[in-house]
Amino acid sequence: MDLTETTDEAAFRDEARAWLDANVPAAPLPSGDTREGFALHLEWERRLFEARWAVVSWPAAYGGRDASVWQWLAFEEEYYRAGAPQRVTQNGIFLLAPTLFAFGTQEQQDALLPRMASAQDLWCQGWSEPGAGSDLASLTSRALRDEAAGGWRLSGQKTWTTRGAFCTHIFGLFRSDPSSQRHHGLTYFLVPLDAPGVTVRGFARLDGDEGFAEVWFDDVFIPDSAVLGGVGEGWKVAMATTGSERGLSLRSPGRYTATVDRLLRLAASRDVDATVESRLAQAWMDAEAYRLFTLRQVSAEQAGRGRPGESSLNKLFWSELDIRLHELALDILGPEAELEGPWSKGFQFSLSGPIYAGTNEVQRNIVAERLLGLPRK
């Protein structure tokens, strides 16, 4: 056990902190899940990219800093501590990019990664369909082979697509083998949303922001080069992304330790009783436990001792934790809790945590079946 940062790690953290302190907007930006807020967030994303803080763990050739996972964790901690804006590029950078690095051709990586890092291409995720949520393998959007044109024709509908109305591209799963069942015969496609035949309709989430979209595909032609990871390999490729989404890369511990710091400052400005103090202590311990768990997890993975299904433990913990932190804030606010504000907003967003990235019911199945070996049937 050694929790001391190396000189490199400490220097990296200091550089990140100094840049963030000098550059994070003094007043919080409006929500990135609204049209005007999204545009302001894009400006921020481009500043991050110019200073090479947008994709720190990526290779320098694509705009990153080749940061180790420890450096990345330090960056995230500093990012949230500084109160920097939400990352509206996250579904590309944290979900698609790891998949591109693992399965993309050199041409795909060279063409897509720099534009993603610089927030020129904005990616959303096209998995869920009206009839396929937790049961993703029941999806019916299809890809028909167009041999003459050298590509595919996509039809169907995706929904609950986060920031779909503001993005430029979508990555998604389509059934490319019409005779296939379940997770066989699916292909992972990369689709520009301005392709003829694509229709996008934004709609409001629980908090009223236009953060969701429905995306219709009506005989949309895309070339073979838009296939990521091989025809019929879609399920395997997609599952590589779910690990990123559920685990560490989407929800780093810095996010929650920073929320607890804000919570402690809120409590310090009010009269709180012993019950609230006890809940504050629990909140601090839980956020700290998540941080320690991730340190243990990264160390174990680096030592070749990772376990199947572990990212589901992360997802269950951070999603429930986020709700508890916001519930406590609202209880401290009392009658002010119903006012529109960062805590009421954050509370509503936290309620989506146990639903997106695979519902927590699905995660519990994964823990029980993969980690503990309980029977599926």
Binding site: A281, A289, L292, L313, E361, R364, P375
Partner: protein, 327 residues
């Protein structure tokens, strides 16, 4: 950065696992329920070096740190080792007593009956002026308890055998040493609790895979899977807190006491919740003293509140946080 047990600590745990698999079977734990001090088991623990784990090598101990301590004690928890193992290990550095397993040291902290006193050879009495009591010289009355292996005992007044002369640091400035003893004991209890939780989980996983109802294993039902998964989340996130607290003690981190409180609060709650879920998942088969589960469940209940409850430790963390926020 490396967060986790060293290869040496992992090897120590493996070695202990092998030894305890034969030396501390459920039958041995059951014998402790009948008042047996389990001397052969303790001899084995002595040969392994466990009582002297934290004692410097030049005094005949293993000279290991708190990380090895929690690794070993968690494993001991899985086996449900009876007797004052944690208390003996943390007291040994302060005393000049044999480390061969012939000595079992209970610790008295409150006015009530003393845990393990009825199966111990000594009591380190921290209630007034710290003193070591040789239990062969006083009368110990066993007190009935839910986990009968806990062997709580009332010690007669005015013990004749206050053997202050035989101790090492109790003579000198012992405030720091005793504070460290309490932190280590609290941490060790947290680790032991997570070992107990892991044992209950193992029993439960094996059981629900095997037990058939409605023509299928009950472990295939989500109503059974999900509470177990939730309990696993709790224990999985408590264990790193135990490791962190051990690291903080071994590196003299000024926040070590807060980290120990966090570890015990999380471990007490996690182990207790695991015990609830495991009993429920077993159905009526777990609700009997004939099945082994209760040996580990009842120890969990006892230790969850021993060395202070989760609520007390949460309050300690709250105090530390408020001080930190104020400064």
């Amino acid at each position: 950065m490396y967060f986790g047990l060293s290869d040496d600590a992992l090897a120590l745990r493996e070695g202990l696992r092998e030894v305890l698999s034969s030396a501390c079977t459920p039958a041995v734990v059951r014998s402790a329920w009948d008042g047996d001090p389990c001397e052969p088991l303790w001899k084995t623990l002595g040969s392994f070096g466990l009582p002297g784990l934290l004692v410097p090598e030049d005094r005949g101990g293993l000279g290991l740190d708190e990380l090895s301590f929690v690794a070993a004690v968690e494993e001991a928890g899985w086996h449900g080792v009876p007797g004052p193992l944690v208390e003996t290990i943390v007291s040994a550095p302060l005393l000049d007593l044999p480390l061969d397993g012939s000595v079992r040291i209970a610790v008295a902290r409150s006015s009530g009956p003393v845990p393990w006193a009825a199966v111990s050879t000594h009591v380190l009495d921290l209630r007034d002026e710290p003193a070591l009591v040789d239990l062969s010289s006083v009368e110990v009355t066993a007190v009935p308890t839910v986990d009968r292996s806990r062997a709580l005992g009332s010690i007669s007044e005015s013990p004749v055998g206050h053997a202050g002369a035989s101790d090492r640091q109790l003579r000198d400035d012992h405030t720091t040493a005793l504070a460290l003893l309490e932190l280590r004991a609290t941490l060790g209890t947290a680790a032991f609790l997570l070992g107990l939780a892991r044992r209950q989980l193992d029993l439960t996983v094996a059981y629900v895979k095997d037990r058939q109802q409605f023509g299928v294993p009950v472990g295939s039902f989500q109503a059974v899977k999900h509470p177990i998964a939730n309990a696993v989340v709790d224990t999985e996130f408590a264990w790193p807190a135990v490791l962190r607290a051990a690291y903080s003690l071994s590196t003299n981190d000024p926040a070590a006491a807060m980290h120990v409180s966090m570890a015990k609060a999380l471990a007490s709650d996690a182990a207790y919740r695991m015990s609830r879920v495991c009993l429920q998942a077993h159905g009526a088969i777990g609700y009997t003293v004939e099945y082994d589960l209760h040996l580990f469940t009842k120890r969990t209940w006892a230790l969850a509140n021993d060395w202070d409850t989760a609520a007390e430790h949460r309050a300690a963390v709250a105090r530390a946080l408020l001080e930190r926020t104020a400064s």
